[in-house]
Symmetry: C2
Subunit: 418 residues, 2 copies
């Protein structure tokens, strides 16, 4: 089964908003055995929306749209879809009740514009949006269907998980008489420490041997290459696993993870499994490493805290790096970063600590320590080690890569202890 | 002049990568007076790429593609474009030299796959990619053109700014005999403390009066609504400014910013203008606030550091919140958050400090303090204030909104002092 996504909103096409919805939706579709063929972003414009819907129905069974469902004048998705599917808006009592309940503490919001939200297309299936005022609409279209959801990410996510995906699965089971669709499988390995082209040469014979029903992709980012094997329902899981194992053997020297999970999740699980805790002392990464480590639910089990010591006075007075160390070696040095890691580990009483100090730029670089120079230290019960990296020239790239290097270093230590 | 973007890569359509390129490119195109009509994401697949390019050429003058230019087997953009434009690959000596130079310290990368990178289409204009091995290609297509760039964000950004946009501007000036295209103008106001529908009713008359050559959009996110006026080259800047000023007067009560800059940038500029500095003490936001404050170049002028006190032991031992306060009032309380703000302000010796403590969930909520409860405190030279917020039910939403509330609070204080 094949789907397409149409994201509707001028804000996407003038670059005011990054479309994070589509990637999330793509993952969920794949998990449900539905292939996503194309993503199209269009303006809040009648002709443009109609052309995109028309095009998508030529290629896909399921069309998912997000956006354009607000109560304001610029949002026209509901009206345009009514026109496209030749139906009209009628009042829906259940939606009205839900909206009254949603705004029971904010009577000022129950105005005439909000009232337009309980007008729904007569010939659409209306599904509840428990966290917002725009109702979810499913338009049947012969054997195909179009589902329309809000563009606000958390509303869309709840809509997809609780309403749209179960609805699609049910419909599909009814039509095909099957309980589930053939699985789309993706299996990912993460490797580090090898160039993409060198890796491809290492895998040349393997790539020549894999059947055409399996596909190998290379995804390099921040010093990690994700190797993904994909199969679109034409292969058994056992066969897929054999190819996956062969791939793993071939890249074992560079392997850092056997799943597609973000590094911080893999590290978090290993820390928890070992009953270990972590703290961080961050200069150039400025809280990004802390933020990564506690991004996911359950992080309070292993993540204690961080001292972000952006200014040298904080390195000195909060982290206890002696003034003479900062003066003699500088803030970006092995000496400073090791003391930062040791001291935050002691202060926060954790098993491990990571410290970063570097020159994220654009200014502050010297001939000896150019922009992109980053020292990272890992303090462990066995002692402290540090390494110097050169991570590029752009601020965001440098801090992202520094977080990746910090986590890879920790991961390697945790793997040894396992 | 109208452009479209085609992003090429299976990783986008299985949700392994979020497309951040398109929003950035859209902004740059708009700054150059080029309207972005559509963004289409397609698979690394010959027929799919050809269909997308064909479709885009029916609607737009300029087609920009990203991705699919790596040296590995899964990347086929260059070959497919060669076929589409009926040309063939030939060796390019300048590209070869550049690649030799790029990998001069890594001779292992100069392998036969890397060698495919200096094969370029005979009938394309080849522009240099100074940070990567894939050459930039511009294919003339009658009065139209297609430009192909790598998908790696920092390579794409440098390619757009240094090569593709200047090339397009030059070409357009030659064809039209004009030096620049008519400006596309976007002007944004940011408001807070009013519901979207209530705001729309407040602006009802205004919306009825604005000419059709101007467009008003509402973009709600994390408790802020961005109001954007757009004009696509059919209005003078003076006229646009008049409508903008009227809008500003109408929403003055809720206004928090007169530009589209992120809040942290606005706050950073005001802190710098006032010669003030800031530190943060973060529990539920876990370093996100710190990370926002130092995300942009130049932040070391006003941002000193943060103590991320995720665990209570860190609140007690590093931030000095007395044990009996934590026991009596709990970590998520006015008392705790005020002491956190005061103490980090003293420890880091800054003008201001912000502290956050809340329940980000999914677990940890109680009847009295449900998930989403967040206390925020602002410590200033005049004293410390705190406020309690209820910021939803989802972890990411709660921490994002808490950062926004923290910054809005600080902004209001800075505006009073101005």
């Amino acid at each position: 089964m094949r789907a397409e996504i149409i994201t509707i909103g001028d804000e996407l096409l003038i670059g005011q908003v990054v479309d994070t919805n589509s990637a999330w939706m793509a993952q969920k579709l794949n998990e449900h055995g539905i292939e996503l063929y194309q993503i199209t972003s269009v303006h809040d414009d009648r002709e443009h929306i109609i052309a995109a819907v028309d095009g998508a129905f030529k290629r896909a069974d399921i069309v998912l749209t997000t956006g354009g469902l607000g109560p304001t004048k610029d949002d026209i998705t509901k009206q345009v879809l009514c026109e496209y599917f030749r139906t009209r808006l009628i009042e829906d009592g259940r939606v009205r009740e839900h909206i009254y309940d949603l705004y029971k503490d904010r009577p000022d919001v129950l105005n005439k514009l909000t009232a337009t939200q309980w007008m729904v297309p007569e010939h659409a299936v209306i599904l509840p949006n428990r966290v917002g005022s725009a109702p979810l609409m499913v338009f049947p279209h012969g054997p195909q269907l179009l589902a329309s959801m809000p563009g606000v990410p958390y509303e869309m996510k709840i809509a997809m998980e609780e309403q749209i995906l179960p609805y699609i699965s049910r419909q599909y089971a009814v039509i095909s008489g099957r309980d589930s669709v053939s699985p789309i499988m993706h299996k990912t390995l993460q490797v580090s420490g090898i160039a993409e082209s060198t890796l491809a040469i290492l895998l040349e014979q393997y790539e020549n041997e894999i059947p055409s029903s399996i596909h190998l992709a290379y995804l390099p980012k921040d010093g990690i290459i994700r190797l993904r094997l994909s199969s679109y329902g034409e292969m058994t899981e056992e066969e897929m696993n054999l190819w996956y194992k062969r791939l793993k053997t071939l890249v074992s020297e560079y392997l850092i993870a056997e799943t597609d999970e973000p590094l911080e999740v893999i590290v978090g699980k290993m820390l928890q499994a070992q009953g270990a805790t972590i703290s961080t002392a961050e200069s150039c990464t400025g809280g990004k490493l802390a933020s990564l480590l506690n991004k996911h639910a359950g992080s309070s089990a292993f993540y204690w805290g961080s001292v972000v010591s952006y200014d040298n006075s904080v390195k000195q007075h909060v982290l206890g790096v002696p003034e003479r160390i900062l003066e003699t070696y500088g803030a970006v040095s092995e000496e400073t970063v090791c003391i930062m890691a040791n001291n935050v580990r002691k202060q926060m009483n954790t098993t491990y600590a990571i410290a970063t100090s570097g020159i994220a730029g654009p200014s502050g670089g010297t001939a000896e320590k150019p922009v992109g120079t980053v020292w990272i230290a890992w303090a462990t019960p066995e002692g402290t080690t540090a390494e110097c990296f050169h991570l590029g020239k752009l601020r965001e790239q440098i801090t992202d890569r520094a977080c990746t290097k910090a986590l890879i270093g920790l991961l390697r230590m945790l793997q040894v202890r396992r």
